[in-house]
Amino acid sequence: MRSSSLAKPMLAAPTRRRLRAFLLLLPSLIFLGAFTYWPVASVAVDSLFGRRLGEKVATFAGLGNYLRLAADPKFTTAVLNNLVYIAATVLPAIVLALGFALLLQRSTRFTATLRALLFFPTIIPLVGAAALWTFLFLPTVGLIDYYIGRLAPLSINWLGNPDTALASIAMVTVWKNAGYYMLFYIAALQAVPQDLIEAALLDGAGGWQRLRHVVLPLLAPTTAFVAVIAVIQAITTVDHVIVMTKGGPDDATNLLLFYIFQTATELHDSGKAAAATVATLVALFAVSTVGIRVLERGGRHVG
């Protein structure tokens, strides 16, 4: 007879099962509860109150914070910026990742080296990348302008010009993540017949068709997975904004999470920051739900 440390002969089987499941899930649930669910509830409640610098007590504001949020042009700017930023990071990153993976999916010493080089940006902390790219973006003396300046009489103020600032931040993100997504594609490509890939790559016009109609559909689940990660990342990572531009110039790089950060720490407007957080959570939830559904469908096809 097997001895189960969890066996309680007096309870019925389903209850025992439930108890076991509960105990197994308990550790995770404790931490999820403390650091995910309770905070979400807390933020939702906070969004209905308000406390400013100099006030000792929070006052009930009802939906006031949400109304002020909707009326705040900075918030609208942050949302729009974030949407543009999502497009500007997710699409190029996926295209590049796929391209790299297709070209490098065979494991030779050569490809292994190149893969490592492409993946390195992912390994360094974003603040490290931000430090590097701050230099790269310096007008005239920075790396980009220095070498471009040899070819054309240009001196672009990448981070200091509202027109180019957001694109520059996006560039950093793409540089950082393309190598990471490449790995997912490489893994997925292992399941695709080698000939198919080579034919797609080398056959010119015919290969292009093969790529689009055969290889890409096979990679659809990966693309969906990568897309979801990339979108979530684009909403929840603002380290580089904090270090490089602080939302500027003139709100050109103000993103949702940075807006929240700013509202909380510079404006000391806890109610509005909470309202913005709730809005962000709703957006994230929407993205994840769509993503999960797509993944489930994809998973059912392939797996």
Binding site: S155, G160, N161, P249, D250
Partner: protein, 441 residues
């Protein structure tokens, strides 16, 4: 020596040792937050000064923590306060003091002074008058200035001579500045290879420099006695913003867009900018890094000579133990002695907040050897308080965002200052409507 006396001696020795070690472990430890870049020479010097104090004060241990830029220091300090673990002392940007006064989180220096035999009425007499506005609120002292600066124009002497200008007579008015810049700017076809004038456009710096131009145009950014009033939509401010716009787009002597402060100094060193507007705080850095002769000059006037002060002051927090409070006061007194302030000033290029620092022989010798330091101090005569209001960072950004838009060619000056005023008023509304009445400020 008899055996008994030897034993007694040993016993006494052991007892002394024990009591010393007990006393040593009873050190009061206080946290000291300050904004300097960790790798800079300033950080190393600050460490040295703190260590000197620790070595000389056996019962106190000051734990210094480098907390990044002025903004980051404010952030960290606020987070620590909210978490219930405030630092005892922080070196805080002078214009953030008001916020901490409103939030009620810092000690009035008045109280600490009277506790320790000082006189709040005369304490600030030894400090330059320009510094008092940012150090006080409602008649009480809340901060002790530690390092201060004003904007300063740095000039490349060789470029001046080359352009037929006299470096001994730097531009004194806005018109002269624009004219000189035009003569100094060099072009290679369509591309500008050397700018006549350059200044940083990043957050914090831009607001400060714009305030300087507004003041030299006869105005001021805010009401020093009322932290809820700013004057953005005024002719003086508008004129200043228009001048900046003209430098970029009409006279074409200043680079377009937001320039990073690092880049401004790099361009100056590399000869890509002939005149740059930076802080006196960069004096040592420029002095050590300049490869060709340079000189310094006042911020040019349009109506009058006037500049905002900059820099940082020491503040002491509530919520620390009485022992820590005593220790903090001792530390702050040491840090703000005429000698310490003088030596820090010589090292950094910031000017010493105490007048008496300049009476010390080391300082006199230093100033004689470095006339540029003297010019920086002379401009103090025209200095006034720095923008310091409720939610000052947001209020400051309200004008900065607009000016950034103007120098990037996205907006005209009129619209910019109007929008700045509108945004700032919105930010200040909760204060003016509710808090001003409550906190009695």
């Amino acid at each position: 020596m008899t055996a008994l006396s030897r034993i007694t001696l040993t016993a006494v020795g052991v007892a002394t040792l024990l009591s010393a070690s007990v006393a040593a472990t009873a050190k009061t430890s206080i946290d000291f937050y300050f904004p300097v870049p960790v790798q800079g020479a300033l950080a190393r010097e600050m460490t040295r000064i703190v260590k000197e104090f620790n070595d000389a004060s056996p019962d106190i241990e000051v734990v210094p923590a480098y907390t990044g830029s002025y903004d980051e220091t404010r952030l960290k300090t606020q987070a620590a306060v909210e978490a219930g673990k405030p630092p005892a002392v922080t070196l805080m940007s002078a214009n953030f003091v008001q916020e901490f006064v409103i939030s009620g989180e810092i000690e009035a220096i008045d109280d600490l002074l009277t506790e320790n035999g000082g006189d709040p009425k005369t304490f600030l007499d030894d400090f330059w008058p320009a510094l008092r506005g940012n150090a006080t609120a409602s008649g009480k002292i809340y901060a002790i200035p530690f390092q201060n600066s004003t904007p300063l124009v740095y000039i490349n002497v060789d470029h001046f001579k080359e352009a037929g200008l006299d470096p001994a007579k730097p531009p004194a008015t806005w018109t002269e500045l624009a004219d000189a810049a035009k003569k100094l700017t060099k072009r290679d076809g369509d591309k500008i290879t050397r700018y006549g004038f350059e200044m940083p456009g990043s957050y914090d710096y831009l607001g400060w420099l714009t305030q300087a131009f507004t003041m030299s145009n006869g105005g001021q950014f805010f009401n020093v006695s009322a932290p809820g009033e700013v004057y953005y939509d005024q002719p003086s401010t508008r004129g200043a913003v228009q001048f900046l716009h003209d430098l970029v787009f009409t006279h074409k002597v200043m680079p377009e867009g937001v320039i990073d402060p690092n880049q401004t100094s790099s361009d100056f060193f590399a000869g890509k900018a002939s005149m740059v507007l930076l802080s006196t705080g960069s004096l040592s850095f420029i002095r050590n890094g300049a490869k060709s002769p340079y000189t310094v000059a006042f911020v040019p006037r349009n109506v009058r000579n006037a500049v905002p002060i900059g820099g940082a002051s020491l503040i002491v927090f509530k919520g620390i133990t009485p022992e820590q409070r005593k220790a903090a006061w001792k530390f702050v007194t040491y840090m703000t002695s005429a000698e310490t302030l003088g030596s820090w000033s010589r090292f950094t290029g910031y000017f010493a907040p105490r007048k008496s620092s300049y009476d010390l022989p080391e300082m006199k010798a230093f100033v004689a050897e470095h006339p540029d330091a003297l010019i920086a101090v002379k401009q103090l005569e025209f200095a006034q308080p720095w923008l310091s209001t409720y939610n000052v960072v947001a209020v400051r950004k309200a004008i900065e965002d607009q000016v950034q838009a103007v120098i990037s060619g996205k907006k005209q000056a009129d619209e910019a200052v109007r929008d700045a005023q509108k945004n700032a008023d919105e930010i200040l509304r909760p204060y003016n409507e509710k808090i001003a009445h409550v906190s009695g400020l």
